[in-house]
């Protein structure tokens, strides 16, 4: 590595297309970036003695090593390193909020290394050059594994278990594979061919996929238990957190996921029956909740041509500069997503009071109140409503994007009878549920989280299952060394 690379180059990532241009389509928003520039960006990596990035990454991506390989322009090596800890860098390279970059040591006082971009570059080069090939296992163990849910967690577990030689069947209740990757994340962030490319590979490696099969729905969960040697529950945390204010049942008030799914289907070419259609065109849109889901609603609404978009957050607006003590954690600072840049009014420290509708039960406005946030002597924050600052904003369409509460209990979980933990997620011990041969991973286990965490969970659960099935495992673990003494 060039020990002085970080002094020579500044951070640079691909430019995004102009907002007014890109809202006209659902294509990825980034422009091309030359390989040479990517190499330069990798040169900024300081190959730290304690690589906090590597710790900050939920997958344990060995970031300094792949950066060095990119610096050496050895893309095959870079790919091998990356692939060893991450089954789907093409997803995380596009949509991960990159906690690694928050943890980057250079980020203490400079813009961090463009790790996420480098990750994406590595995997795209690898596909381009044919490094990514189906690699079916040499030997089959004869064990059969079922995975319920084809989101990032389920897919990662499937890939790993298949690698270990087990025969894997993935069950997806929806008509297409990918879970949130498919119907949650918009194409302008993750074009679906990327997902399909990966699934095709996995199929070529021998993984079986069954769509439109809801375990615990159209097939009996017990049946799966009898059929398979081990089962992984990876159904996600899909029950949205509710907003219990008056008027919530008015027409035009939707959970964000319903909207996002529909948008994704439209882009995929599905025809949505008019009666079910949620369309922002010409409407005053209010997005409640400031997370990524909310942001995705904003992006879709803009593309549909909303008249106005307002996004409400009940937290106070954070400062835009991180504190030294925030590092290496993800700082709570003001950030703007690409969707915000495309147009959105953001309101902070707001509590929703009630939706008001017209005679047709169509929502027309939303009453909100500004909050006063104070901290007490222990440093604990609390808020009080400021009655003088109650107002009503126009609202033809509202999306509730304040997170997900827990997995869906009806069907699968209830039929199996798995225990839940105090947070309402599936209780486990090292990914094993209270039931023999049943494992759990992803949001269903840890509650709503990032795609990168889902992949990590899937991988670790796969290890636990392999050990369960075979007594040992050679699957790579995030923090396991093969040199560990027995």
């Amino acid at each position: 590595m060039d020990a002085k690379g970080f002094l020579k180059y500044n951070r640079e990532t691909p430019k995004s297309r102009k907002p007014q241009e890109r809202v006209k389509d659902y294509k990825e928003i980034y422009e091309d970036f030359s390989e040479r520039k990517t190499v330069q960006q990798a040169t900024r990596c300081m190959d730290c003695g304690v690589p906090f990035c590597h710790n900050g990454c939920p997958l344990g991506n060995i970031i300094p090593e792949f950066n060095e390989a990119v610096y050496d322009e050895d893309w095959l090596r870079a790919y091998e390193i990356l692939n060893s800890t991450n089954n789907f860098p093409e997803f995380t390279g596009r949509i991960c909020p990159a906690p690694c970059e928050s943890a980057c040591v250079l980020g203490i006082n400079q813009p961090p290394v463009a790790i996420e971009h480098i990750e994406k570059a590595i995997i795209e080069v690898a596909f381009e050059r044919g490094y990514v090939r189906p690699q079916p296992p040499v030997l089959r163990t004869g064990k059969k594994v079922a995975i319920v849910g084809s989101g990032p967690g389920g897919l990662a577990a499937a890939a790993q278990l298949n690698k270990a030689g087990h025969l894997v069947t993935v069950f997806e209740k929806s008509d297409r594979l990918g879970g949130l990757l498919r119907y949650g994340i918009p194409d302008f962030k993750l074009e679906k061919w990327v997902l399909e490319r990966r699934i095709a590979l996995m199929q070529a490696e021998g993984i079986r996929f069954k769509t439109s099969v809801e375990v615990g729905g159209n097939i009996d969960a017990q049946h799966i238990l009898q059929e398979f040697d081990a089962v992984l529950l990876a159904g996600g945390s899909i029950v949205p957190r509710d907003l219990t204010i008056p008027g919530k049942n008015l027409k035009g008030v939707h959970y964000a996921m319903d909207y996002l799914e529909q948008c994704n289907r439209r882009v995929a070419g599905d025809v949505i029956p008019e009666k079910d259609s949620i369309n922002a065109k010409g409407k005053h849109v209010v997005v409640i909740g400031g997370g990524d889901t909310g942001s995705d609603c904003v992006g879709n609404a803009n593309r549909q041509g909303a008249a106005s978009i307002t996004q409400l957050q009940y937290h106070i607006q954070p400062s835009s500069k991180a504190e030294l003590t925030d590092w290496p954690n993800v700082p709570l600072i003001y950030t703007e997503s690409s969707s915000h840049q495309e147009g959105c009014q953001r309101e902070w420290a707001i509590l929703t009071k009630s939706f008001l509708g017209d005679k047709n039960n169509l929502v027309k406005s939303l009453q909100i109140v500004t909050l006063d946030w104070r901290s007490d002597e222990t440093g604990k924050y609390s808020f009080q409503e400021q009655p003088d600052f109650i107002k009503e904003i126009p609202c033809d369409l509202a999306f509730i994007a304040i997170g997900y509460a827990h997995p869906k209990y009806e069907g699968l979980l209830q039929q199996l009878g798995v225990s839940l933990n105090e947070r309402g997620n599936v209780k486990d011990s090292n990914y094993r549920t209270n039931l023999d041969k049943v494992f759990v991973a992803g949001d269903m286990r840890r509650g709503q989280s990032l795609v990168v965490w889902a992949i990590s969970e899937g991988r670790e659960a796969a290890r636990a299952m392999d050990i369960y099935l075979m007594g040992e495992t050679q699957l790579e673990g995030k923090a396991n060394s093969e040199l560990m003494l027995a």
């Binding site: 002094l7 300081m46 690589p51 300094p64 040591v105 040199l483």
Partner: protein
């Protein structure tokens, strides 16, 4: 001694070192006056000896003289028996046990044996002694002295008599000690000869004369007297350890003793002598052994050789050869002698100054490095006087014919029969030409390179992939990246920084390489490490293959060996050896493999099988034994190569077969330098690291190396780097030659069970037990299963490693993302809760231990409320931050720590880079950037009188945890204007810290430096920094006896600076061991209450502090954690100047990124102190003092989970040395520094007007060698009053006459002009700080001044400014590390101007070898009329340039000064013949320095400013 074994104290590790001397009368005239003079001389070197806690119990003193025949005749008659004529009887000096009954038992045995061996007993004579004034501890074990006189029943020639006496002495001693092992230490025969007799004991030099009444008798006469005064690191009295021995008085240290003894053991079995019968040989054996000191063993072997027919000089040349390997100027007859004799004996390597006599000849010699002083004088009344110091015996200067010092590797002999001096050249000529060694060598010795090319090599390892083999042998990605690739690419060993915070090998839960359990030993205090780069000329890597039988035969067949220029064999080399077809050589291979089926005993059985096979092959004539693991595969796992080599080596040693063969190892588990060093250290002659080569080839094929390095080159780079690494590892313990390193076992095992040690590494210290054979097998099997899994897996790859860089899958680290973050967060937010989380993570070592202390826990105490514990302020005073130099870290980082420590009353440490004077004054807001601790390290950067005067503590850095035994280097790019100024060096020019302090080659030298520093600042305490290793307690005890006020024990794992990675990981030991050993040993020696003990090394939390305190430390140093608080994120790239947080960098842009804050640092120390107070309250201690050394409050955790370390035995650490009544466990008593009556008190008194009013004054004084550090205390007075500027030049003009003691003019400040008439000893003008020193010969002297030594070794070491004019010659290492002094001298010894960075040296006469090694700055003008100078310069860093006009002018001015001050005839002659003479001068110019000067001129010209290059 048995009880000692419960602790960590290992008696074999006791060290001593000493003053030695000799007086011989060439005319053979025996006089009592000579004996008297010898005793006086001994008394005048009292300061070179030592005493323990009792001032009247010395470490030992003695004298060896010719048999005083007349005296004995009279005395024996008076006790009732008559003596025959001289030469017909033998006299033995016997130490009998004091108890009468026991004594008589011994006597009966002795008498019977004397009779049996053909002697008549003439009688016993009680030796009259007077123990008045002896200390109680000496008296308690005082032996009963008797002399025994025997007469052969049949008349014998004297030489035969001597041999028979020898047999009787050895046999009787063996028999009596076997019969009464409990009196082993009490029965001893000091001498038994017809021609010499020794008087010695546990005495101070002053007691010797009065103790032995014989010595005072006028008729007690001798023409030769050998004297010795001992400075031992231990104080447990042992009378028999006093010297002289039978032939020698030894001032030195034999670093290779373990190897020498092992090789001897092997040789002993093969002995066959023309002079001793088989039965006699059996009676002599064992000829030497472990129960003796290194000197004692040396003397025993020497004695055997001499009595077996070797001349004394011949034997010495064999045992301590000169540095001949790389000496191009050495005559061939000498080279062939040495080359031939290396087949008989490996060097007994280490610093040595010897005086010796057999009663007929007497002489002295120095080892190849010449690090111990030896000065001689020849007078016109035929006396030769040799001593460690000049002037030890006062001599009428008008009688002096010649004065000199012994040069490295040289011998000087006085032959009393021939009545003349035989100088080195004549002596060696006659010895070396006695037999046709060169012919023998030419006819018999072969070179590996001459062997025919081997048959086509086919790689038959296709079945397994390279990856599988790498996995099987334990390679990781990190090993490839960090070691193999850089070694092959650059030929240099990689650097790292920030210490090692990974678990010890035995605590690691990852499969470990067996070498990781072995820690390299290193030199500190008692012997100096060597600089393997700058002093390459004394180092040798030559190895040889072959075997030979009886060592006493000087036959041509001995020369049948194969010469290897390096022990690292390429695959082709090995193939040649494997297929050798030669009448003298037979090679054969043994597979070192075992079945990895996890059955108990598999590995052990395999080892035994390998040993048996080896024995069988050697008995069948195989003289090159190849141990190979090439055939390891899925079914058979490799035995760790180190285990196999050690086992075979020791098996063959035990069978007496080792000398008949050589061991070559061909193994896959060898890639880093440490692997090589362990293999060689345990007996391998040559090493083939085939997997390292295979890996390099693979890397090359994958284009890992830039610009496509050809493979041959990559491999030769790799081999070269390994060679360098080996030299470095050898040199850190002070061993010069590969041959003596081989088998020397310079390691301490940490975590290996004694069953393994006994069989494979016998003699290695292993104090906490650990893994056995089956456990070692498990570690191999883990790797083997990784390589050959039962189940096939896609994309297998190498493990990440994670030792040098933290990795999620890698090795554990104390500092990892969580702990670093929590520590920074807590201190930045002043959040004790966050600190507690941090401490909990660090302390949580139940599941996975990282440190030895992690296995310990506290016993339950009688808790007290925390309010009763002494306040936090008291505790804060006991903190110190680590020594980090300004230069290694930025000013911001450095001064932040200093201010913080000054605010809390703790101590920050300047490090070794000097300190800017502007930091000495307090700031307006009361903050103080001054470092309380000023370090004095080997580089002596910026160590001036003023610097020393501005300190609360002066710390002598003997070693540093990250790289004990090594020097350092600050690359030129880090030396900016500021750093250059503070270090008194040229910006842009690199700086080298030598491995040793050039004024500390021994413990008495350290005592001298402590004395110097105490003179330089009476207010400051003097501390000595040591690194933990086996024997550190013994060294600490020596240091306490050398009057240090404080001792710092550093763990091996600390260290912030840049060091070779090998050193960071593999040298030194954890502080738990070193600290516990130090406490135990100091208490045992009743010295603990005289010194403060501080500890450092990965100290992180209050728990660490509490454990350290219970183990014996009352102060604690913290470096790494303090840096982390300042913002360090363990980048571990300190050596690259790219620290992204502005700490370890001088880059102005990066320095701006520094975010450290004084408050954060203070918060941290408050947390620590509070954390500690809570533990104190819990345990029930109100004060730290109460708590120090209360090791009984610690115990081993009961539920230790891991099989690997659950059987570790930490009881030696937890052993509490019982303290005798009145012996304190912490510092209570101030040391007596002996500075109350120094000459400087007089000087200061006389200088009062100058000091107070700046008046000029002058005066004269007599001076003796006992007046040491003259001018140093006076300089302190000047610096205190006048700062760095001092007084105006020549304000104080003092004149001295006589022989000045060591360190004359040390740190002498500006304003002083000292003229010494007479001579000076070592360290003249060390640290010269502006004064003018002038030396002229005594007015009565008749000798030619410019050819005689007038000042000793290591003059002007670390001088920063000032002038010196020396009318005469100086010894070795003149102006070493001079950075600003100007000196004129008329001749110098070897290694002149070494490491010089500034200043000007003018040499008007001869120079020795290796001039200007490591010289990066300054200039030297050398008179080279003889034309020999060119060959004596080490040109690595300097050019020989022509003198320019300005140079000539400067030279002429200096010559005029020289003449003006000294009336030098040489100067006058040169000035008178200036036009002619000036052309004989040559300018020595460092290349870097020249480049910097030129670039400055270019810069100046380009900016149109005219600047002349100035100093």
């Amino acid at each position: 001694m048995e009880s000692d074994q419960r602790g960590l104290y290992v008696p074999q590790l006791e060290q001593d070192s000493c003053g030695t001397g000799l007086i011989a009368d060439l005319s053979g005239n025996k006089t009592h006056a000579l004996v008297e003079d010898a005793l006086t001389m001994l008394e005048n070197m009292e300061h070179r000896g030592a005493c323990g806690y009792e001032p009247n119990t010395g470490d030992g003193a003695g004298i060896l003289v010719q048999t005083p025949h007349e005296f004995f005749v009279r005395e024996c008659a008076s006790v009732g028996f008559a003596l025959p004529e001289y030469g017909a009887y033998g006299v033995g000096m016997v130490f009998f046990p004091a108890e009468r009954g026991v004594r008589e038992h011994c006597r009966v045995i002795f008498n019977d044996l004397a009779d049996e061996l053909g002697f008549d007993l003439l009688g016993y004579r009680p030796v009259p002694t007077s123990n008045q004034g002896l200390g109680n501890s000496a008296k308690a074990v005082e032996p009963y002295f008797e002399q025994v006189f025997v007469h052969p029943k049949n008349a014998l020639a004297p030489e035969s008599l001597e041999r028979r006496l020898y047999v009787l002495r050895k046999f009787a001693t063996h028999q009596i000690q076997d019969a009464f092992p409990q009196w082993k230490d009490q029965f001893y025969i000091a001498s038994f000869s017809y021609k010499t007799v020794a008087y010695k004991g546990q005495l101070t030099t002053f007691q010797l004369r009065s103790y032995f009444l014989d010595l005072q008798d006028e008729t007690f006469k001798s023409a030769v007297a050998l004297i010795h005064s001992r400075f031992s690191t231990n104080t447990t009295p042992k009378w028999k350890l006093a010297q002289p021995l039978r032939y020698i008085a030894h001032n030195g240290e034999i670093n290779t003793i373990t190897g020498n003894l092992n090789w001897w053991k092997s040789k002993e079995k093969l002995l066959d002598s023309a002079l001793f019968s088989k039965e006699e040989l059996d009676k002599l054996k064992p000829i030497c052994g472990e129960a003796l000191s290194d000197s004692g063993n040396f003397d025993n072997v020497l004695e055997f050789l001499v009595l077996s027919g070797f001349s004394l000089a011949h034997a010495l040349m064999m045992m301590i050869p000169e540095a001949w390997e790389h000496d191009e100027q050495m005559a061939d007859y000498k080279k062939s002698f040495y080359e031939y004799h290396k087949t008989i004996m490996e060097p007994w390597d280490g610093p040595a100054s010897l005086c010796f006599t057999d009663g007929i000849i007497a002489g002295a010699m120095l080892d190849r490095n010449g690090l111990r002083p030896s000065r001689y004088v020849l007078t016109d009344d035929d006396r030769l006087i040799i001593a460690s110091e000049a002037g030890a015996l006062r001599i009428d200067q008008s009688k002096v014919l010649a004065k000199g010092r012994l040069q490295p590797g040289k011998i000087l002999i006085a032959d009393l029969e021939k009545r003349r001096i035989i100088a080195d050249k004549e002596l060696k000529l006659s010895i070396c030409k006695r037999l046709p060694y060169r012919d023998w060598l030419d006819k018999n010795r072969i070179y590996l390179s001459e062997l025919p090319a081997p048959p086509e090599m086919k790689e038959d390892m296709e079945e397994q992939s390279l990856l599988q083999r790498q996995q099987m042998f334990g390679f990781t990605r990190e090993d490839l990246k960090i070691f193999i690739a850089p070694l092959a690419k650059n030929g240099e060993e990689p650097l790292g920084s920030m210490g090692a915070d990974t678990p010890l090998a035995v605590l690691s839960q990852r499969s470990q390489h067996l070498s990781n359990y072995f820690k390299q030993l290193f030199a500190q205090v008692t012997n100096p490490p060597i600089d393997p780069i700058r002093e390459r000329s004394v180092m040798s890597l030559f190895a040889m293959l072959g075997g030979a039988g009886n060592m006493l035969d000087l036959a041509p067949e001995r020369a049948r060996f194969m010469h290897l220029s390096s022990p690292v064999l390429t695959n082709e080399d090995l193939a040649k050896i494997r297929h050798i077809q030669h009448p003298h050589f037979k090679s054969d291979a043994i597979d070192i493999l075992f079945k990895p089926d996890e059955q108990k005993g598999r590995l052990h059985a395999a080892i035994q099988h390998v040993c048996a096979a080896a024995e069988d092959k050697v008995r069948n004539g195989v003289n090159i034994l190849i141990l190979s693991d090439r055939l390891a595969d899925a079914n058979l796992a490799p035995i760790p190569s180190l285990l196999a080599v050690g086992a075979v080596h020791h098996h063959l040693v035990n069978e007496g077969l080792r000398g008949r063969t050589s061991i070559v190892i061909e193994a896959g588990d060898i890639w880093e330098p440490h692997h090589f060093s362990t293999l060689v250290g345990y007996g391998a002659s040559a090493v083939n690291p085939y997997m390292a080569y295979a890996t390099i080839m693979d890397l090359q094929e994958k284009h890992f190396f830039e610009s496509d390095l050809p493979i041959e080159k990559a491999i030769s780079y790799y081999n070269k780097a390994i060679g360098k690494g080996l030299l470095k590892i050898m040199s850190k313990i002070g061993i010069s030659t590969f041959q003596s390193y081989q088998g020397a076992q310079i390691f301490e095992a940490l975590g290996i069970h004694k069953s393994v040690i006994k069989e494979c590494f016998s003699g290695t210290i292993s104090r906490i037990q650990g893994i056995g054979f089956d456990d070692i097998a498990k570690e191999v099997i883990t790797r083997h299963q990784l390589a050959f899994p039962e189940k096939i897996i896609a994309n297998p790859k190498l493990d990440v490693g994670g030792v040098f860089q933290w990795k999620q899958q890698g090795e554990e680290h104390l500092f990892n993302p969580q702990t670093i973050h929590l520590l920074q967060y807590s201190t930045r937010k002043n959040d004790m809760t966050a600190y507690r989380k941090y401490a909990k993570l660090i302390n949580a070592q139940d599941e996975k231990a990282l440190t030895l202390r992690g296995l310990l826990t506290f016993r339950k105490g009688n808790s007290i409320p925390i309010e009763e514990v002494e306040p936090i302020e008291n505790i804060l005073k006991r903190f110190a931050t680590g020594a980090m130099s300004f230069g290694s870290i930025s000013h911001e980082a450095h001064s932040t720590l200093a201010i913080a420590m000054n605010r809390i009353g703790g101590k920050s440490n300047s490090g070794e880079g000097g300190e800017d004077e502007m930091r000495y004054a307090k700031k307006e807001n009361g903050d103080w950037e001054r470092s309380a601790v000023k370090q004095v390290a080997s580089g002596r950067f910026g160590v001036t009188s003023h610097y020393l005067a501005n300190a609360d503590e002066l710390q002598i850095k003997m070693a540093q945890g990250a790289k004990p035994g090594e020097g350092g280097q600050l690359p030129g790019h880090k030396v900016d204007e500021w750093i250059g100024k503070v270090r008194h060096s040229t910006p842009g020019v690199g700086l080298i810290s030598p491995p040793p302090h050039h004024d500390i080659y021994s413990i008495e030298d350290l005592a001298q430096l402590i004395f110097d520093l105490k003179n330089a600042n009476r207010e400051a305490r003097v501390s000595v920094k040591l690194v933990s290793k086996a024997g550190v307690g013994i060294i600490a005890s020596g240091v306490a006896k050398a009057h240090a006020d404080a001792i710092l024990i550093s763990g091996h794992d600390g260290g912030t600076g840049a060091s070779p990675l090998t050193s960071i990981r593999h040298a030194g030991l954890p502080w738990e061991l070193g600290l516990a050993e130090t406490q135990q040993t100091l208490v045992k020696n009743k010295l603990r209450d005289r010194v403060t003990v501080q500890v450092d090394g990965q100290v992180r939390t209050g728990r660490d502090l509490a454990i350290a305190t219970l183990l014996g430390a009352e102060e604690w140093g913290i470096a790494t954690a303090a840096l982390v608080v300042e913002g360090c994120i363990m980048m571990r790239k300190c050596h690259l100047n790219t620290c992204p947080v502005g700490i370890a960098t001088q880059d102005p842009e990066l320095r701006q990124r520094f975010t450290g804050d004084v408050e954060h640092v203070i918060n941290f120390f408050h947390f620590l102190a509070q954390d500690l107070r809570e533990i104190m309250a819990d345990l029930g201690y109100r004060t730290i003092n109460e708590m120090v050394g209360k090791v009984e409050m610690l115990r081993l955790k009961t539920h230790i989970p891991h099989w690997k370390y659950k059987d570790l035995d930490l009881t030696p650490i937890l052993y509490k040395q019982p303290a005798e009544e009145g012996v304190g466990l912490y510092k209570l008593i101030e040391q007596q520094h002996g500075i109350e009556n120094v000459l400087d008190r007089k000087l200061i008194y006389m200088a009062e007007p100058a000091l107070e009013q700046g008046q000029g004054i002058s005066s004269t004084f007599d001076i003796y060698n006992t007046d040491r550090a003259v001018g140093t205390m006076l300089s302190y007075e000047i610096s205190k009053r006048y700062g760095g500027e001092g007084l105006p030049e020549d304000t104080i003009q003092f004149r001295f006459r006589g022989s000045a003691g060591q360190s004359f003019g040390a740190f002498a400040a500006r304003g002083l002009q000292f003229t010494l008439e007479g001579e000076a000893n070592d360290y003249f003008g060390k640290g010269l700080s502006g004064a003018k020193l002038i030396v002229v010969p005594d007015r009565e002297a008749q000798f030619e001044v410019s050819e005689n030594i007038i000042i000793g070794n290591v003059a002007l070491y670390g001088a920063t400014s000032g002038e010196a004019y020396i009318s005469g010659m100086a010894g070795e290492r003149f102006a070493v590390r001079n950075s600003g002094g100007t000196a004129v001298v008329e001749g110098i010894g070897d290694h002149g101007c070494e490491y010089m960075t500034g200043g000007l040296v003018v040499i008007l006469g001869e120079t020795g070898k290796n001039f200007a090694a490591g010289m990066s700055g300054g200039e030297a003008f050398v008179y080279n009329a003889s034309g020999k100078f060119e060959k004596r310069v080490n040109r690595e860093m300097v050019d020989l340039d022509r003198m320019e006009m300005a140079d000539y002018e400067l030279l002429r001015t200096l010559l005029r000064n020289h003449f003006r001050y000294t009336s030098s005839k040489r100067a006058l002659h040169l000035l008178n013949n200036w036009e002619e003479a000036k052309h004989s001068f040559v300018k020595v110019m460092p290349k870097d320095y020249k480049a910097v000067l030129q670039s400055r001129i270019v810069v100046a010209q380009s900016s149109n400013v005219l600047v002349t290059a100035s100093m």
